[in-house]
């Protein structure tokens, strides 16, 4: 496909407004309603999940609405194995996001900064990890682990999570490195800074936001992963695996509470980083 992409108009020009005079009101309104209907549809299950975290259910099972209560928020950690599963998930997510952050930054920086042999192959492998089905990645990892009789557990889950996160981090970092103004680095070198100092004092701070969002994405991918984890977990239980297992006998309200809190924290982080990056751009 040829590059048909046109130069992006300067964002300050508010391009959407420029197009407005030609807009047909009817079509726009219809699309507006359509978009909102889609958004509503997307939110319905989230709403149900949140609502049922406040359900005053009598037994362990949380199926029918029985009145409003806050009590499950007080009893959030009452199911020991669920709490343990959540902790397992958090620990794996922290370790795997930091590791894939480090490894992915290396690849992303190299790909963005240098031309070298093998970069094509690397690009292809990264593309493959991003686009191959999770099922296949999980299945092949399990095949490897059983073939080597390595056993399964938290370590194999972490290995898997790092594997599928690296490429995402690398892609994000590379995008930032490519737009890097080389003259700043050259200036530092001219002033007598070693390559090492230049990197840490000049380049790294500039690409840090990209590394940070890469790590954040890796964290999110890890904590939510079910498919690959299911294949590499053995008898270890993570948060999504615990939910999967207990759906068969009925989900306790604590799951909804935790889901709601994770949702809230995730939204909060997203909003904060969004605001910060915006104000950063303005400044």
């Amino acid at each position: 496909m040829s590059q048909t992409t046109l130069e992006r108009p300067a964002p300050a020009a508010e391009p959407a407004h420029a197009a407005r005079p030609k807009r047909r009101l009817g079509g726009g309104t219809l699309l507006f309603i359509y978009t909102w209907l889609v958004i509503l549809w997307l939110i319905v299950p989230i709403f149900v999940m949140i609502a049922f975290s406040f359900n005053d259910t009598k037994g362990r099972y949380n199926q029918e609405w029985q009145g409003f209560t806050f009590k499950w928020y007080g009893k959030i950690f009452e199911i020991e194995d669920l709490t343990k599963a959540l902790w397992t998930s958090l620990i794996i997510a922290v370790i795997s996001s930091l590791l894939s952050g480090a490894l992915g930054t290396g690849i992303g920086y190299a790909l963005g900064r240098y031309r070298f042999r093998g970069s094509g192959t690397l690009n292809l492998i990264m593309f493959a990890t991003i686009s191959s089905p999770e099922l296949i990645m999980g299945a092949s990892l399990l095949s490897l682990f059983v073939s080597l009789a390595l056993g399964l557990g938290a370590v194999t889950i972490t290995i898997a999570h790092v594997m599928f996160s690296i490429s995402f981090v690398a892609t994000i970092v590379r995008a930032r490195v490519v737009t890097l103004d080389r003259s700043i680095e050259e200036a530092a070198a001219d002033l007598g800074a070693s390559a090492w100092t230049t990197f840490w004092k000049v380049t790294f701070p500039i690409i840090l936001p990209a590394v940070f969002s890469g790590v954040l994405l890796a964290f999110a991918l890890s904590i939510d992963d079910f498919v690959v984890t299911n294949f590499t977990a053995g008898s270890v239980t993570t948060f999504p695996l615990w939910i999967w297992g207990s759906t068969r006998v009925g989900l306790p309200p604590q799951v909804n509470v935790m889901g709601t809190l994770i949702f809230a924290v995730g939204v909060l982080i997203a909003v904060i980083t969004n605001i910060r990056s915006r104000s950063g751009k303005r400044g």
Partner: protein
Amino acid sequence: MSANISDPSLLRGMTQRRFGRRDALRLSGLAGLGAALAACGVQGKGTPGASAAPDAVEKFWAGKAKTNKIDFANWPLYMDPKHPELKKFTAETGIEVNYQEVIQEMGPWFAKVQPQLAAGQSIGYDLMVITNSFQFSQFRDSGFLAPLDHSKLPNYTKNADPAYAKEAFDPGNVYSVPWASGMTGIAYDPDKVGRKLTKLADLWDPAFKGKVGMFSDTQELGNFGLLALGIDPAKSTSDDWQKAADHLKEQKKAGIVRKYYDQSYVDALGKGEVWITQAWSGDIFQKNLSENRNFEFFVPEEGGTIWTDNMTIPITAKAPVDAITLIDFFYRTDVAATLAEYINYVAPVPSAKEQIIKDAAKLSGADKTAMEAIANSKLVFPSAAEYAKLHYYVSFEAASEQQAFQKTFEPIVLG
């Protein structure tokens, strides 16, 4: 030869990978170790009785000490959620029990822990309750089960129903002792179904199209296919299996089967997803009790199956001494009685019945009637007439036979 086969340390030696460079290069895994066993051509046939046990038992138990903490893997609906028995145990022995309802079907459980056990790793559990399905043989024949030291099981020796020691899957209870037995029958929602059901054929009734649940466990499913055709599973041949599979396929093709379930069938019944389903005897009783429902359970006229769930210690357990102490604790008459009172499965301790009657005598009113009902329940203490309707699982002489059985019924579940 049978002595060799059932020697767990030998089996373990054979199944464990000796990790070498060549292996790493070949990456073909698991290969090679089969040759030795295949040469014998036997898979856990013979009698793993006393002949093999003494040495193996000694070897396993030598140097094992109490750790005061057990991780216990069991099925859902298999203990009062408040765990009164475990609390009593901890109070008496100081051993903490981490009880987890992580087993919902035998296949997934075996597949989940197999790689860890094959690598000689702890699976995180010191005690697990597994059914006498073919996965039981897989566990045993892979050398994954610790041989039990019967000198540490005084209550079992005194109280266990001797019939269990004769069961074919583990004669002499070398690797396992029963947790409970139960029946596979049919459960239904009388409000939805609108009539009294007594037959296996009801599972094939087109009136319940899309509202029938069957088990995804190939043995459970296959058994019912066989029984529906009047074939005794224990005596069935591979031709019979094919016939049964065809019968089950018809049921599926007609859109009668909603889904093939593991333990989740109880939830599906509760939600009204299915109206009639294959079921395990005690589950329904508990569901009714805990959620105030009135589902019915029956053993079909054409027959049902009987199975035994067994307490076993994985070979890599970190706390085997504590685990065997807990195993024996469940063979105390009083403990067996309270457990049976709650779970409504067949207790392996006959004296529990008198205990339940005694307990009932202390109560009054509705509680008393309920308790007496349990003591006289055909589900907890089946009568001779009930037993006559019950069949054992298909037994497999060789691994290839078991595989053939699985391949016959698997495509139905995975269709």
